[in-house]
Assembly symmetry: C2
Homo-oligomer: 231 residues x 2
Amino acid sequence: MRTYTTPDDCTLPGLDAPCFRDLLPEEISLARESKTMVVFHKGETLAKQGAFASSVLFIIDGLGKRYIEGDAQRNYNISLVKGGEFLGLSAAFGSNTYPYSVTALSEVTACLIEKDAVASLAKLNGTFAHSIISRYCRSSNMLYTAISKLTNKQMNGRMADALLYLDAVQHEGQAVFVNLSRKDISDFAGVSTESAIKLLKNFEKDGLISLEEKDIVLLQHQALEEISRKG
Amino acid sequence: MRTYTTPDDCTLPGLDAPCFRDLLPEEISLARESKTMVVFHKGETLAKQGAFASSVLFIIDGLGKRYIEGDAQRNYNISLVKGGEFLGLSAAFGSNTYPYSVTALSEVTACLIEKDAVASLAKLNGTFAHSIISRYCRSSNMLYTAISKLTNKQMNGRMADALLYLDAVQHEGQAVFVNLSRKDISDFAGVSTESAIKLLKNFEKDGLISLEEKDIVLLQHQALEEISRKG
DNA sequence: CGCGAGCTTGACGTTGTTCAACTAGAGTGG
DNA sequence: CCACTCTAGTTGAACAACGTCAAGCTCGCG
């Protein structure tokens, strides 16, 4: 984990992002003076569930996984984390611990922003606050659908969902599958590693996907969506 | 479902709530002119998952359940809904459908506020926006812990959790258990009705709770928390 | 060349759902 | 006032889904 000491190091990529668009000059300087840029390497922890969150992270680039910790052998992966997203916003607005953990799946570049600065920005600038609310709204919806998957679907449907989600992110231009182990994928589907492997083999046997080393190619989107729908 | 046509009908209880504290006079009038008060009876639907959400609901009084729909025989209850809470905020800030359903468990009095009015308020008034963000933050944390329960605990632990949660709300002064069926309770624990009944009987046999008609009294909080912790 | 981590496979056990039958109380109509 | 029905609750037995375990495999790396 390499730290840039000069705040301006992350001015260019960081403050360019859409949510920082409508800041007033003094707000920009507030943001600029309260942050520092950090590079995380694969496997490093960006946020630890339950730990005190001293700052909000704004991801510039790279790929991570956001997950709920389980016992030693199992987590549940909520979502991928990629450029343009905030981590640990809740630190700035209430609880001061992270409700989830985040680990880098590839090299991740992020801006750390002091949580008080984010809270101030939200109070000063309604548009910024509105953008934060929109983000919360979208992530809440994601959490509700995650709960829906967990309660309503069984292995087949959950695995189909996971593959469709991961594939969609990959189509946005991020290399995804090559950065994931079988265990990562099983944690996205919420099944054991062994079950995940068997499911993948079955999908391949049925011609729905193609397993090429670590990479996975979806051959039959329609059929997978059908499986997802049926649960 | 009785509707009050005069907006002022819900001025007194509605605009008294903490989140409306710091509104400016013109903002108050904006809020006042964009709302109407409604009374829902037991069993009626306040919000329907997937349906278009035309307005945000602010609950004045009563008890409801917020849940994710499953197949015909099963839902998953996320939380109780009680006075002072917003429903369907996401309508105002992004997606225009409800991500969950809400049904009245007792008679519920609520203010319906036009979603555009809520969005405007959030943009005009940073403090109001901040309060909305705090609410989102808390509810997000709840969703993360819900996911954690679903993935990490089995029946015993989930039922203990459900009882501790319901009991905590009851201790805030709301009659809870008498308004819940066995199916409601099982949907909070995320198990089948039959399993829930067997679990409750077991807990009673072990002296942890006392089943008195519909009411449930927790006798051994410590022990239940222990069961919850162990999963 | 050998070691270890991740991957794969099949046999087995546990958990929790489903099903079917039975009970109790609450309303309904004769 | 009594059948009659309907719903919610209860019980145990059979069954399915899925995790766990144990063993073997593969590949990259020291």
